[in-house]
Symmetry: C2
Subunit: 370 residues, 2 copies
Amino acid sequence: MALPPIDAPPRLTSIAASDVAALAAGTAIFGTGGGGAVYNAQIAAELSLVEHGPVDVVTVGELGADDLVISMSGIGAPTVGIEMLSANHQIHSLMREGERAAGRPITTLMPAEIGGSNGIGPIGWAARLGLKMLDGDGMGRAFPDAAMVAMNVAGVPCDFAVMSDVVGNVSVIKTVDLHWMERLARALTVASGSICLGVHYPLTAETAKGAVIEGTVSAAARVGRALLEAPEPVDAVAQAVGGVILLRGKITDLDRRTEAGFARGSVTIAGTGADRGRLQRLELQNENLIVLEDGEVLASVPDNITIIDAETGQAITTESLRYGQRVAVLAWACDPLWRSPRGLELAGPRAFGYDLEYVPFDPTTARRAL
Amino acid sequence: MALPPIDAPPRLTSIAASDVAALAAGTAIFGTGGGGAVYNAQIAAELSLVEHGPVDVVTVGELGADDLVISMSGIGAPTVGIEMLSANHQIHSLMREGERAAGRPITTLMPAEIGGSNGIGPIGWAARLGLKMLDGDGMGRAFPDAAMVAMNVAGVPCDFAVMSDVVGNVSVIKTVDLHWMERLARALTVASGSICLGVHYPLTAETAKGAVIEGTVSAAARVGRALLEAPEPVDAVAQAVGGVILLRGKITDLDRRTEAGFARGSVTIAGTGADRGRLQRLELQNENLIVLEDGEVLASVPDNITIIDAETGQAITTESLRYGQRVAVLAWACDPLWRSPRGLELAGPRAFGYDLEYVPFDPTTARRAL
């Protein structure tokens, strides 16, 4: 077995209750404005880990022939998710139907997306079920569509999805592609009161290889710890993600509307302090998608853009943006997988309806906060 | 084995292509205005029987320990069903997932409702799959809600439903009750383009006993044959169902709107000939629910009300009603099961939002056409 390279960041081998706060702060940063508020999921995960003990975290390379990984996520309106909590029976019916559909036991949970509450939720369920967590996820951030996952970029088909609601209903859907899966899953979710819990995309040690974004659970913990422990959290977060603060300022305009279940619109941030006189506009579709200044695109999807609190460095989700907030605009490069032709086809600017050529974000040359 | 009583009507033991026209005419009568137009299903069934040979029809009493019956129906908007035909792969995925969910082979198909196209559709699929047909159904007519079935009246739970669409998507839903099943099935159907094919309610020889309305496939064939062969089809149909023609006249007013996926409204029929001067109004919710004359309820759900063509005796579905049509209003008693307290709770007038006490329809005392 090869030793890890000398400069590889330390990785998480298990998650205890005391790790969750940092993980939650980190997954919120990776939410790039979406993925839902992390607080409820954080409380639930802490409680589960206190009750059931720490969860083992494994890498793709550590998976054995008997392992079956399944992606887990909440589906629906985050605003509803805050008020309608998941029930224990939901996870048990997901596992029962998931194992029946897969024809073998599920050993390992993976967050469908590391960004936001979906990056934290599976930890608590893994503790309750005695399962392992995979150090990786399907997006490396948050995206609004189930088709925007690394496994899809890598060409691995999704055999099924299982969904359960708080009422006790459970559904197994097998679709011709991920767009249909998203469509049917959304329809079921709306019928169930706009929030469901789901597992999908069973992966073996073989199929997971090269098809998930690895190390993102460790990365979220590292970024969250930097945020919580550093004296200058904004700079610490930027450094931890290997990114750049594009602007420091305050929100002077906010155009946000809910369309077809998505928060859409734009937010305008006027520079303050050394950045006075500068103006940036961000395009939003659940996540922060594009940063514009003087007609120039400074960063765009699939690269990562998160608006963070100017003092605490904590991420602000698109639904929590408010007029007058003091913020910093953080951007950093996406996983190389998203820069492949297939990755850009699925999650580049054009996939979100923007008629512009993707320019990879480069932190060394980016226009940054002064 | 006891001999059947002397006056028992002859029963169907197999269905050939040459039986389908009569069956279709009969199921249309049992549609009580709903259940969808039968023509497409008739053509498809005839073709399947020509290609694959006749289908055996069995009674509940003839089911063995190895038999598993499953109810089959189209779900969605009949208007879409006319244009978007079912695909062969749909039935195969239904069977595969249905057998997986049941854990045993499916041997026998049953129409979820005998009324309308759903009474005919399963015949063609049974021929293609080499399965038997049960001489019975879940409603003895057509109803708009999956919860309005004999199995539910009898207290037999529905283990699962499987749905498939023409695209190739297939879903298995397990719900806490039939209202949730209807709700999730509708949501999936709308997402799939408003028409799906489904199987649900697996029944064994044991659970089917007393929980289905027996003999309705034979009855539909008998009624259809009377309609097609008699010189006076209107009277022949009334006699075949053991019912009464309440009025002969023409449609003088039609208030029909589509609400929440249902055809709702009312139709007014002015008597002609000997019935001149009489006026009846029928309340519609997909099916014909209530017949009123001079403020008196002449017949109401769950008893059966079908508007038929004054010349041909053919049933007219609520969506095919037109101003000026010459029609006869036919009513006959429902299966006794629907008159039980549980039956009326599920499908009595109040279940459809009408604040009136159910009065069982009695053909011997009913106000009839003159």
